[in-house]
Assembly symmetry: C2
Homo-oligomer: 150 residues x 2
Protein backbone atom coordinates (compact mmCIF):
# COMPACT_ATOMS: atom_id res chain seq x y z
CA UNK A 1 0.00 0.00 0.00
CA UNK A 2 1.46 3.36 -0.98
CA UNK A 3 1.09 5.79 1.88
CA UNK A 4 -0.41 8.68 -0.05
CA UNK A 5 -1.24 7.75 -3.61
CA UNK A 6 -0.50 10.53 -6.09
CA UNK A 7 -3.97 10.41 -7.61
CA UNK A 8 -3.22 13.04 -10.21
CA UNK A 9 -0.29 10.99 -11.49
CA UNK A 10 -2.62 7.99 -11.78
CA UNK A 11 -5.10 10.18 -13.63
CA UNK A 12 -2.44 10.95 -16.24
CA UNK A 13 -2.70 7.34 -17.42
CA UNK A 14 -6.46 7.68 -17.89
CA UNK A 15 -6.04 11.02 -19.68
CA UNK A 16 -3.51 9.50 -22.08
CA UNK A 17 -6.06 6.78 -22.88
CA UNK A 18 -8.82 9.35 -23.42
CA UNK A 19 -6.61 11.35 -25.78
CA UNK A 20 -5.75 8.20 -27.71
CA UNK A 21 -9.49 7.54 -28.08
CA UNK A 22 -10.03 11.05 -29.37
CA UNK A 23 -7.18 10.64 -31.89
CA UNK A 24 -8.90 7.47 -33.11
CA UNK A 25 -12.09 9.42 -33.75
CA UNK A 26 -13.75 8.06 -30.64
CA UNK A 27 -15.29 9.32 -27.42
CA UNK A 28 -12.53 10.75 -25.18
CA UNK A 29 -13.01 8.85 -21.94
CA UNK A 30 -10.17 6.79 -20.52
CA UNK A 31 -9.63 4.74 -17.41
CA UNK A 32 -7.01 2.75 -15.54
CA UNK A 33 -7.30 0.11 -12.84
CA UNK A 34 -4.47 0.27 -10.32
CA UNK A 35 -3.66 -1.85 -7.33
CA UNK A 36 -3.32 0.24 -4.21
CA UNK A 37 0.35 -0.78 -4.14
CA UNK A 38 0.87 1.25 -7.30
CA UNK A 39 0.81 -1.50 -9.92
CA UNK A 40 -1.13 -0.76 -13.10
CA UNK A 41 -3.47 -3.73 -13.66
CA UNK A 42 -5.10 -2.54 -16.86
CA UNK A 43 -6.06 0.56 -18.78
CA UNK A 44 -8.30 1.37 -21.70
CA UNK A 45 -10.72 3.77 -23.32
CA UNK A 46 -14.17 4.04 -24.78
CA UNK A 47 -14.32 2.29 -28.15
CA UNK A 48 -17.99 2.62 -29.14
CA UNK A 49 -17.03 4.25 -32.43
CA UNK A 50 -13.81 2.40 -33.17
CA UNK A 51 -15.26 -1.09 -32.69
CA UNK A 52 -18.96 -0.39 -32.99
CA UNK A 53 -19.18 -1.81 -29.48
CA UNK A 54 -21.43 0.03 -27.02
CA UNK A 55 -20.29 -2.13 -24.11
CA UNK A 56 -16.75 -0.74 -24.08
CA UNK A 57 -16.71 2.26 -21.82
CA UNK A 58 -13.40 3.44 -20.43
CA UNK A 59 -13.93 1.72 -17.09
CA UNK A 60 -15.17 -1.58 -18.51
CA UNK A 61 -12.20 -1.62 -20.88
CA UNK A 62 -9.71 -1.08 -18.06
CA UNK A 63 -11.48 -3.77 -16.00
CA UNK A 64 -11.33 -6.19 -18.93
CA UNK A 65 -7.70 -5.48 -19.67
CA UNK A 66 -6.84 -6.33 -16.07
CA UNK A 67 -8.10 -9.86 -16.68
CA UNK A 68 -9.46 -12.14 -13.99
CA UNK A 69 -8.68 -10.95 -10.50
CA UNK A 70 -9.57 -12.50 -7.18
CA UNK A 71 -10.90 -9.47 -5.36
CA UNK A 72 -10.88 -5.74 -6.07
CA UNK A 73 -11.09 -4.26 -2.58
CA UNK A 74 -7.53 -2.94 -2.81
CA UNK A 75 -7.84 -1.59 -6.32
CA UNK A 76 -8.37 1.97 -7.56
CA UNK A 77 -10.45 2.70 -10.65
CA UNK A 78 -9.20 5.92 -12.17
CA UNK A 79 -11.34 7.50 -14.85
CA UNK A 80 -11.35 10.82 -16.66
CA UNK A 81 -15.12 11.24 -16.13
CA UNK A 82 -17.56 10.28 -13.37
CA UNK A 83 -18.76 6.73 -14.10
CA UNK A 84 -22.21 6.23 -15.60
CA UNK A 85 -24.67 3.79 -13.97
CA UNK A 86 -23.25 0.91 -16.00
CA UNK A 87 -19.72 1.57 -14.79
CA UNK A 88 -20.86 2.50 -11.28
CA UNK A 89 -22.61 -0.86 -11.14
CA UNK A 90 -19.34 -2.50 -12.14
CA UNK A 91 -17.57 -0.77 -9.26
CA UNK A 92 -20.22 -1.78 -6.75
CA UNK A 93 -20.58 -5.40 -7.91
CA UNK A 94 -16.86 -6.07 -7.78
CA UNK A 95 -16.26 -4.08 -4.61
CA UNK A 96 -13.65 -1.80 -6.10
CA UNK A 97 -12.54 0.13 -3.03
CA UNK A 98 -11.61 3.50 -4.49
CA UNK A 99 -12.69 5.47 -7.53
CA UNK A 100 -10.75 8.51 -8.71
CA UNK A 101 -12.62 10.69 -11.19
CA UNK A 102 -11.03 13.40 -13.28
CA UNK A 103 -14.22 15.42 -13.16
CA UNK A 104 -17.95 15.27 -12.51
CA UNK A 105 -18.87 18.70 -13.88
CA UNK A 106 -19.95 17.68 -17.37
CA UNK A 107 -21.56 14.42 -16.15
CA UNK A 108 -22.31 13.38 -12.59
CA UNK A 109 -22.93 9.67 -13.15
CA UNK A 110 -23.39 7.45 -10.12
CA UNK A 111 -20.79 8.88 -7.75
CA UNK A 112 -23.32 9.87 -5.07
CA UNK A 113 -24.71 6.33 -5.08
CA UNK A 114 -21.22 4.87 -4.88
CA UNK A 115 -20.40 7.03 -1.86
CA UNK A 116 -23.66 5.97 -0.18
CA UNK A 117 -22.56 2.39 -0.71
CA UNK A 118 -19.18 2.81 0.92
CA UNK A 119 -16.94 3.45 -2.07
CA UNK A 120 -14.18 5.98 -1.53
CA UNK A 121 -14.72 8.46 -4.38
CA UNK A 122 -12.09 11.12 -5.01
CA UNK A 123 -13.03 13.88 -7.44
CA UNK A 124 -9.98 15.73 -8.76
CA UNK A 125 -11.95 18.39 -10.65
CA UNK A 126 -9.20 18.38 -13.25
CA UNK A 127 -9.36 21.18 -15.81
CA UNK A 128 -7.82 19.04 -18.57
CA UNK A 129 -10.65 16.52 -18.19
CA UNK A 130 -13.36 19.18 -18.01
CA UNK A 131 -12.08 20.93 -21.13
CA UNK A 132 -11.76 17.66 -23.05
CA UNK A 133 -15.35 16.63 -22.34
CA UNK A 134 -16.81 20.10 -22.86
CA UNK A 135 -15.16 20.34 -26.26
CA UNK A 136 -16.28 16.84 -27.21
CA UNK A 137 -19.90 17.30 -26.10
CA UNK A 138 -20.11 20.62 -27.94
CA UNK A 139 -18.66 19.08 -31.10
CA UNK A 140 -20.59 15.79 -31.10
CA UNK A 141 -23.70 15.99 -28.92
CA UNK A 142 -25.47 13.15 -30.74
CA UNK A 143 -22.61 10.75 -30.19
CA UNK A 144 -22.34 11.71 -26.54
CA UNK A 145 -26.07 11.19 -25.99
CA UNK A 146 -25.89 7.81 -27.68
CA UNK A 147 -23.10 6.77 -25.34
CA UNK A 148 -25.16 7.54 -22.25
CA UNK A 149 -28.43 6.26 -23.63
CA UNK A 150 -30.13 9.63 -23.93
Amino acid sequence: MIATPDYRALLDTAIAEARQGLAEGGIPIGAALYHADGRLLGCGHNRRVQEGDPSIHGETDAFRKAGRQRGYRDTIMVTTLAPCWYCSGLVRQFNIGTVVVGESVTFGGGIGWLRENGVNVIDLNDERCIDMMRDFIAAQPELWNEDIGE
Copy 2:
Protein backbone atom coordinates in the same frame (compact mmCIF):
# COMPACT_ATOMS: atom_id res chain seq x y z
CA MET B 1 -45.12 -4.21 -30.64
CA ILE B 2 -46.32 -7.74 -29.99
CA ALA B 3 -49.53 -7.62 -27.99
CA THR B 4 -48.57 -10.11 -25.31
CA PRO B 5 -44.96 -11.16 -25.56
CA ASP B 6 -44.42 -14.83 -24.87
CA TYR B 7 -41.70 -14.18 -22.33
CA ARG B 8 -40.99 -17.85 -21.73
CA ALA B 9 -40.31 -18.34 -25.43
CA LEU B 10 -37.85 -15.42 -25.30
CA LEU B 11 -36.27 -17.01 -22.25
CA ASP B 12 -35.58 -20.16 -24.27
CA THR B 13 -33.01 -18.18 -26.28
CA ALA B 14 -31.23 -17.13 -23.10
CA ILE B 15 -31.32 -20.68 -21.72
CA ALA B 16 -29.80 -22.04 -24.93
CA GLU B 17 -26.97 -19.52 -24.51
CA ALA B 18 -26.46 -20.51 -20.88
CA ARG B 19 -26.29 -24.18 -21.79
CA GLN B 20 -23.77 -23.44 -24.51
CA GLY B 21 -21.66 -21.64 -21.94
CA LEU B 22 -21.85 -24.62 -19.62
CA ALA B 23 -20.82 -26.95 -22.45
CA GLU B 24 -17.79 -24.72 -23.03
CA GLY B 25 -16.77 -25.13 -19.38
CA GLY B 26 -18.05 -21.69 -18.46
CA ILE B 27 -20.54 -20.09 -16.11
CA PRO B 28 -24.08 -20.96 -17.26
CA ILE B 29 -25.71 -17.56 -17.59
CA GLY B 30 -27.18 -16.48 -20.89
CA ALA B 31 -29.08 -13.46 -22.15
CA ALA B 32 -30.83 -12.07 -25.19
CA LEU B 33 -31.81 -8.54 -26.16
CA TYR B 34 -35.08 -8.37 -28.07
CA HIS B 35 -36.95 -5.50 -29.58
CA ALA B 36 -40.51 -5.34 -28.30
CA ASP B 37 -41.65 -6.11 -31.84
CA GLY B 38 -40.14 -9.57 -31.46
CA ARG B 39 -36.85 -9.10 -33.31
CA LEU B 40 -33.78 -10.64 -31.70
CA LEU B 41 -31.13 -7.89 -31.57
CA GLY B 42 -28.35 -9.89 -29.94
CA CYS B 43 -27.69 -12.78 -27.60
CA GLY B 44 -24.74 -14.10 -25.66
CA HIS B 45 -23.44 -15.73 -22.53
CA ASN B 46 -20.93 -15.33 -19.74
CA ARG B 47 -17.40 -15.95 -21.00
CA ARG B 48 -15.23 -15.24 -17.97
CA VAL B 49 -13.64 -18.68 -18.20
CA GLN B 50 -13.60 -19.13 -21.97
CA GLU B 51 -11.93 -15.79 -22.74
CA GLY B 52 -10.45 -14.90 -19.37
CA ASP B 53 -12.62 -11.80 -19.58
CA PRO B 54 -14.45 -10.74 -16.41
CA SER B 55 -16.39 -8.03 -18.25
CA ILE B 56 -18.44 -10.47 -20.30
CA HIS B 57 -21.55 -11.29 -18.33
CA GLY B 58 -24.53 -12.71 -20.19
CA GLU B 59 -26.30 -9.37 -20.36
CA THR B 60 -23.26 -7.33 -21.42
CA ASP B 61 -22.55 -9.90 -24.12
CA ALA B 62 -26.10 -9.69 -25.51
CA PHE B 63 -25.91 -5.88 -25.37
CA ARG B 64 -22.60 -5.90 -27.22
CA LYS B 65 -23.78 -8.35 -29.86
CA ALA B 66 -26.71 -6.05 -30.62
CA GLY B 67 -24.21 -3.39 -31.69
CA ARG B 68 -24.86 0.33 -31.57
CA GLN B 69 -28.53 1.18 -31.09
CA ARG B 70 -30.20 4.56 -30.88
CA GLY B 71 -32.41 4.00 -27.85
CA TYR B 72 -33.39 0.96 -25.82
CA ARG B 73 -36.73 2.01 -24.37
CA ASP B 74 -38.58 -0.53 -26.53
CA THR B 75 -36.17 -3.37 -25.92
CA ILE B 76 -36.41 -6.36 -23.60
CA MET B 77 -33.35 -7.78 -21.86
CA VAL B 78 -33.98 -11.45 -21.19
CA THR B 79 -31.58 -13.21 -18.85
CA THR B 80 -31.50 -16.59 -17.16
CA LEU B 81 -30.54 -15.03 -13.82
CA ALA B 82 -31.37 -11.76 -12.07
CA PRO B 83 -28.80 -9.17 -13.22
CA CYS B 84 -25.96 -8.24 -10.89
CA TRP B 85 -25.24 -4.56 -10.09
CA TYR B 86 -22.99 -4.27 -13.12
CA CYS B 87 -25.69 -5.53 -15.49
CA SER B 88 -28.46 -3.70 -13.61
CA GLY B 89 -26.45 -0.51 -14.10
CA LEU B 90 -26.30 -1.29 -17.82
CA VAL B 91 -30.09 -1.60 -17.92
CA ARG B 92 -30.61 1.66 -16.06
CA GLN B 93 -28.03 3.71 -17.98
CA PHE B 94 -29.39 2.71 -21.36
CA ASN B 95 -33.05 2.88 -20.33
CA ILE B 96 -33.85 -0.68 -21.31
CA GLY B 97 -37.60 -0.74 -20.73
CA THR B 98 -38.21 -4.34 -19.73
CA VAL B 99 -36.11 -7.03 -18.06
CA VAL B 100 -37.22 -10.66 -18.04
CA VAL B 101 -35.36 -12.84 -15.56
CA GLY B 102 -35.44 -16.61 -15.55
CA GLU B 103 -35.06 -16.65 -11.80
CA SER B 104 -33.99 -14.63 -8.78
CA VAL B 105 -33.93 -17.44 -6.22
CA THR B 106 -30.23 -18.27 -6.33
CA PHE B 107 -29.19 -14.61 -6.76
CA GLY B 108 -31.34 -11.51 -6.35
CA GLY B 109 -29.08 -8.97 -8.03
CA GLY B 110 -30.42 -5.47 -8.56
CA ILE B 111 -34.01 -6.20 -9.59
CA GLY B 112 -35.56 -4.31 -6.65
CA TRP B 113 -33.49 -1.24 -7.55
CA LEU B 114 -34.48 -1.53 -11.19
CA ARG B 115 -38.16 -1.66 -10.26
CA GLU B 116 -37.74 1.40 -8.03
CA ASN B 117 -36.29 3.17 -11.04
CA GLY B 118 -39.17 2.41 -13.35
CA VAL B 119 -37.93 -0.70 -15.14
CA ASN B 120 -40.59 -3.31 -15.86
CA VAL B 121 -39.09 -6.47 -14.33
CA ILE B 122 -40.76 -9.82 -15.01
CA ASP B 123 -39.54 -12.76 -12.96
CA LEU B 124 -40.51 -16.09 -14.53
CA ASN B 125 -39.28 -18.22 -11.64
CA ASP B 126 -38.29 -20.86 -14.18
CA GLU B 127 -37.33 -24.25 -12.75
CA ARG B 128 -34.83 -24.96 -15.55
CA CYS B 129 -32.93 -21.80 -14.65
CA ILE B 130 -33.06 -22.44 -10.92
CA ASP B 131 -31.79 -26.00 -11.32
CA MET B 132 -29.01 -24.93 -13.67
CA MET B 133 -27.67 -22.30 -11.27
CA ARG B 134 -28.10 -24.45 -8.15
CA ASP B 135 -26.11 -27.25 -9.77
CA PHE B 136 -23.43 -24.87 -10.96
CA ILE B 137 -23.02 -23.03 -7.64
CA ALA B 138 -22.83 -26.36 -5.77
CA ALA B 139 -20.23 -27.69 -8.21
CA GLN B 140 -18.05 -24.58 -8.53
CA PRO B 141 -18.63 -22.18 -5.65
CA GLU B 142 -15.25 -20.48 -6.05
CA LEU B 143 -15.86 -19.65 -9.68
CA TRP B 144 -19.32 -18.34 -8.91
CA ASN B 145 -18.01 -16.12 -6.13
CA GLU B 146 -15.30 -14.79 -8.42
CA ASP B 147 -17.93 -13.85 -11.00
CA ILE B 148 -19.90 -11.76 -8.53
CA GLY B 149 -16.89 -10.29 -6.76
CA GLU B 150 -17.36 -12.12 -3.47
